[in-house]
């Protein structure tokens, strides 16, 4: 059979959104791959130039609707740096709490979609069931399940509700117990190991060269976590361990899976620690100036890697220029490297493990 291209997308069960992965196959083996994006292009950076600073938070929520708070938080951080204002300490604690809740919810969405990618539909329903716990917590905290519009320039929108720490402890404790069930269905499954181990390998040097960040880079055995390397908010005071692949043979789908999976536990630990250490009184927001001039730059540890916002103001009440760096966009550039030489069926197993979010990739 001659080599031919197969379009995996833009409408295909594999794609977690509207994009196209073209793969050139020789029989079942992939000889080349080519990600095609642009189906979802929304012109974020341009739209943000005509809206006021505060109103842009609504937009940044929708960059990745699975992980809204982490994105709107990165934007707010950049704008705050440009304005030169400091968020009150209690506001920072609430931000860390909401960020970690959102990270767990986002990782659970990834886990849910990774199951069907491997043909395990049961994993989808189970992980979505557990995601409800964290969406409920987020709803209590912010009033919304998705697209919360919670971080504000200068703090957060509202205080934590009454008795929220007890609710967090209860939900997280229940969830940590449930995670053992996931280990049985994923870690202990021979078939799962067969499908993930040694598949979609990328070396640490290649990963750095192509701009892969976040859990995908940590899976190559490199200890990068912006919460530790360039701490923002109160992450310095929180005691946690970035989840890095310990062995020498990292960089495959299995290592990415393990790193993300362990981050679920680690984020739960952070949540429990934050509700413990959080000051009970104090302001959670300060008034922000309406107009600003200068440059602001913030990079944070998003659920999928390094999210970067660059905001420039020219003294008006809206940004002069916004630049977004999406971690998935950079990771996508490296996917031909991951895919070449693997089998056709592995396209899904590999792309599922890097956690694609088309919303932020195609900003």
């Amino acid at each position: 059979m001659p080599e031919f291209w197969i379009n995996m997308g833009p409408q295909h069960p594999m794609t977690h959104g509207l994009w196209n992965m073209r793969v050139k196959v020789d029989g079942e083996t992939i000889v080349d791959a080519e990600p095609e994006i642009g189906y979802l292009h929304r012109g974020y950076e341009k739209i943000m130039e005509v809206r006021e600073f505060q109103k842009n938070v609504v937009l940044t929520d929708r960059l990745c609707y699975v992980s809204s708070i982490t994105w709107s938080h990165a934007y707010c951080l950049a704008v705050e740096k440009m304005m030169g204002i400091e968020v009150p300490e209690r506001g920072q604690w609430i931000r860390v709490l909401s960020l970690e809740l959102q990270r767990v919810a986002s990782h659970l969405m990834w886990l849910a979609s990774y199951g069907p990618d491997l043909g395990l539909l049961t994993g989808l329903l189970w992980a979505l069931r557990e995601r409800e716990l964290f969406l409920d917590l987020l709803q209590l905290l912010t009033g919304m399940r998705m697209n919360q519009n919670f971080p504000r320039v200068g703090g957060v929108r509202n205080d934590v509700p009454e008795n929220f720490d007890a609710m967090c402890r209860r939900s997280v404790g229940y969830f940590l117990g449930k995670l053992d069930g996931y280990e049985r269905i994923f870690h202990d499954s021979k078939v799962f190991l067969m499908r993930t181990q040694g598949v979609g390998k990328i070396s640490a040097a290649d990963a750095i060269d192509w701009g892969v960040t976040g859990p995908n880079l940590r899976a190559c055995g490199i200890n990068v976590d912006l919460r530790r390397l360039d701490p923002y908010e109160v992450y310095e005071e929180v005691d946690f361990e970035p989840q890095v692949w310990k062995g020498t043979d990292g960089g495959d789908s299995y290592a990415r899976f393990i790193c993300r999976f362990n981050e679920l536990r680690e984020s739960c630990r952070i949540i429990l620690e934050v509700v413990e250490k959080m000051p009970t009184t104090g302001a959670y927001r300060i008034r922000q100036p309406r107009r600003a001039e200068g440059e602001g730059f913030a990079h944070t540890e998003d659920s999928r890697g390094e999210a970067l916002f660059y905001v420039a103001g020219d003294g008006d009440d809206r940004p002069y220029r916004v630049k977004i760096r999406s971690p998935v966009f950079s990771t996508m550039a490296a996917t031909p490297l991951l895919l070449r030489g693997n089998k056709l069926a592995d396209v899904v197993a590999i792309l599922g493990s890097v956690d694609v979010c088309v919303g932020e990739m195609d900003k």
């Binding site: 059979m1 197969i6 196959v25 043909g119 049961t122 799962f192």
Partner: protein
């Protein structure tokens, strides 16, 4: 030890039972013909001749065969297929922590069922598959513009007919069968291996890259799994000495050993054939394309595999027949290794010398088949899908050597006299 096996409900066999039905129909026709002859005197003589012809051996036999085959068809599709589909959909829904299908008779839109005081969507869901079938019938039947239309339309027929062919030779009890073939096992395996050919034709003729890859995968899998399956059957024939499915079941009727009221049956599973059982079961799971081995229609990468281009009821046929193949495969495993219709408890009511079965053979057989189906369903919703090269590796590097080893063990057991 005296023979205490339970009796079949369909006795002595399906043909004789259907013959009663045929004769009843013919008698009714005869009455009509008589009345017609009495009313119109000139027609009396030819009608009497027709009546004699109808009651002659030929018409009765042909008609009885037709009725017997129809009964088996309806039994397999209307009862077993619907039930197993319902079981699967309900079972995996509960596995996934949700209710699953709920359309029942209370969901029907007309008067006696749809009452205001009854919730319409809180039933058991048995009618959901019927509703889906009706929906598929209403849908347009598309043929892709560049497809090879003849081949594209033939392959569902090939798949459906080859699957239904299995049920001609597949007995459901010592009485409930259509044909008692001397080489029934060979026939069933041959019919089982026909469907991948239809899948290959379907995949190739649709002129779509997804279906093409799916069809070729099916062909590769047929090669890798039909061979260990046949080899496992060869190992079994060392113990059975026959390819007759009825005799194979009869051989498993005796008790292996008895502890008080409980007697452990001498299934072929308990003995030197256990390795062959494992090989055969894995190969059958691959043959019926369920999830660890469902690569011809791996929906993650191939959209819907070789069924992608089918629509309407044609899709319903190629999709629904997967369950029919699962039933046939489970029934084959039950017959060969799990004692067929022999139950562990033999309950007959002795009514003045006539043994009336309280639990007839059909019940035991159906219970075993359905439990095995549930096992396959449970398996396929708990583990991910295996990759094509790994599937072929399992087939060639694991199953074939194990099957050869099973032949060796079977032969050795035969020599020793186990």
């Amino acid at each position: 030890m005296t023979h205490t096996g339970s009796q079949p409900l369909v006795a002595p066999n399906l043909f004789e039972v259907c013959k009663v039905l045929t004769l009843a129909i013919l008698t009714l026709v005869d009455v009509i013909l008589d009345a017609l002859g009495a009313a119109i005197p000139p027609l009396r003589a030819p009608l009497a001749g027709l009546s004699d012809f109808l009651f002659g051996g030929f018409v009765v036999t042909v008609l009885t065969w037709l009725i017997a085959m129809t009964v088996m068809l309806l039994w397999a599709t209307l009862f077993n297929l619907l039930t197993v589909m319902w079981m699967e959909r309900k079972f995996y829904s509960r596995l996934q922590d949700r209710y699953g299908i709920m359309v029942s008779i209370w969901s029907l839109p007309f008067w006696p069922f749809n009452r205001r005081d009854r919730p319409t969507h809180k039933g058991t869901g048995y009618l959901q598959n019927v509703a889906d079938g009706v929906k598929l019938l209403q849908k347009e039947n598309l043929t892709p513009a560049s497809a090879d239309a003849a081949m594209f339309h033939i392959s569902p027929v090939l798949i459906a007919s080859s699957t239904l062919m299995i049920f001609v030779a597949l007995p459901w009890s010592s009485g409930f069968y259509v044909a008692r073939l001397e080489f029934g096992l060979l026939f069933v395996l041959a019919a089982f291996s026909l469907a991948p050919l239809g899948i290959l034709i379907a995949g190739w003729s649709a002129n779509n890259k997804y279906t093409l890859v799916g069809g070729l995968r099916a062909a590769a899998m047929l090669m890798a799994y039909a061979i260990p399956m046949i080899l496992a059957v060869i190992a079994l024939t060392f113990s059975t000495g026959t390819l007759n499915l009825f005799e194979i079941v009869e051989q498993q009727e005796r008790a292996l050993f008895t502890i008080g009221p409980l007697s452990i049956p001498a299934w072929y599973l308990f003995g030197p054939q256990i390795l062959g059982f494992v090989v055969f079961t894995v190969a059958i799971v691959a043959e019926m394309e369920r999830i660890p081995f469902d690569i011809p229609e791996a929906e993650a990468e191939l959209v819907e595999g070789w069924t992608t281009e089918y629509s309407g009821m044609r899709f319903g046929i190629v999709f629904g027949f997967k369950w029919l193949r699962m039933i046939a495969g489970a029934a084959l495993i039950v017959i060969l290794y799990l004692g067929g219709w022999n139950g562990p408890v033999f309950v007959n009511l002795d009514l003045g010398g006539v043994l009336v079965p309280i639990l007839p053979e059909e019940v035991y057989f159906l219970a075993k088949v359905w439990i095995l189906c549930l096992f396959f369903i449970w398996l396929s919703w708990s583990i991910p899908r295996i990759r094509i090269d790994q599937i072929l590796q399992i087939g060639w590097k694991r199953l074939v050597p194990y099957a050869l080893l099973a032949i060796l063990i079977g032969a050795a057991a035969r020599v020793v006299g186990l």
